[in-house]
């Protein structure tokens, strides 16, 4: 991965995520809010699925990236970083995505060396009313020593 550069970037307070082509496509940025890594997806017409609603696939993509970046940020400093790939992604759609800014954050349920279990949530104006949640199991492939 562009991992070392990404890990360095994520130590900052905020920034754009253009190192990841798909994050650039969604126009994503991140912010540290009270230590928590939050991804920010501004509204754009290109994110629309059904009329007036965000496409569930775009919100799912945001959730996966929130999970992926949270996993990368949780790796120990100074070590070669693993390739991180999702193996299973389960998404629950609770509320429709309105045409406005969407945020996402993830928490790690278990940080293993080979498998990381993650829960991610996306919300809009009100954090207490998540629109979409995902449970993601990532597998880490470590570089040969």
């Amino acid at each position: 991965m562009t991992n070392p550069a990404l890990a360095t970037l994520l130590r900052g307070p905020a920034g754009r995520l253009d190192l990841l082509p798909y994050a650039a496509l969604l126009d994503l940025a991140f912010e540290r809010v009270d230590g928590e890594l939050q991804l920010v997806m501004p509204f754009a017409d290109t994110l629309i699925g059904s009329p007036g609603r965000l496409h569930g696939g775009a919100i799912s993509g945001l959730l996966e990236l929130a999970g992926l970046l949270t996993v990368i940020a949780a790796q120990p400093d100074g070590e070669a970083l693993p390739r991180v790939r999702p193996v299973t992604v389960t998404v629950d759609f609770m509320r429709e995505g309105a045409p406005q800014e969407t945020r996402a954050a993830a928490s790690i349920t278990k940080l293993g060396r080979r498998v990381v279990n993650v829960h991610a949530q996306a919300w809009q104006a009100d954090r207490a009313r998540p629109i979409t949640a995902a449970h993601i199991n990532f597998v880490l492939d470590w570089p040969e020593k």
Binding site: G49, R83, T88, V91
Partner: protein, 150 residues
């Protein structure tokens, strides 16, 4: 008389690629049968999260599969009714070949008054060697069941 599957192909086919987010990704309609829908997503370097290793992001695949099985549920419903994804699980069984066009095939295997149960797979050339499997559910407004199968 035109079957509902043919109507879905004729009306929804061109429509799928005009949905703004589908259009952004380049998603296109391929074909529909009695109970299944096939869509395609040609490769774009913008779909990667890890260009060094060619690792795809989930988002484009989930967008493709959600759209595909959503259309399949409408086909099974037998009517163009509003519906919403309740949940969708994707299992990535292997990585796509580099720069592959991904083909999605989805079907609705059970329709109840309110819920469509769907499944599908994504492959990069050979449906017998898929890259991903999906299973999910869609909600319909219960009052409106029109002549779909049970």
């Amino acid at each position: 008389m035109t079957s509902f599957a043919e109507q879905v192909g004729q009306f929804m086919g061109p429509f799928v690629g005009r949905v703004p987010h589908n259009k952004q990704l380049g998603l296109r309609f391929v074909a529909t049968g009695d109970r299944w829908v096939e869509l395609q997503l040609p490769f774009s370097p913008q779909f990667l999260v890890d260009p060094d290793h060619g690792v795809w992001a989930s988002g484009p695949i989930i967008t493709l599969m959600d759209t595909c099985v959503g259309m399949a549920s409408m086909l099974a419903r037998g009517a163009f009714e509003p519906h919403a994804t309740l949940d969708l699980r994707t299992d990535y069984v292997r990585s796509p070949k580099p720069q592959a066009t991904v083909t999605a095939r989805g079907e609705c295997y059970r329709m109840t008054r309110q819920i469509a149960f769907v499944r599908g797979l994504a492959h990069d050339g050979d449906p017998a060697d898929p890259i991903a499997h999906v299973a999910g559910t869609f909600m319909f407004a219960a009052s409106k069941l029109a002549g779909g199968w049970q």
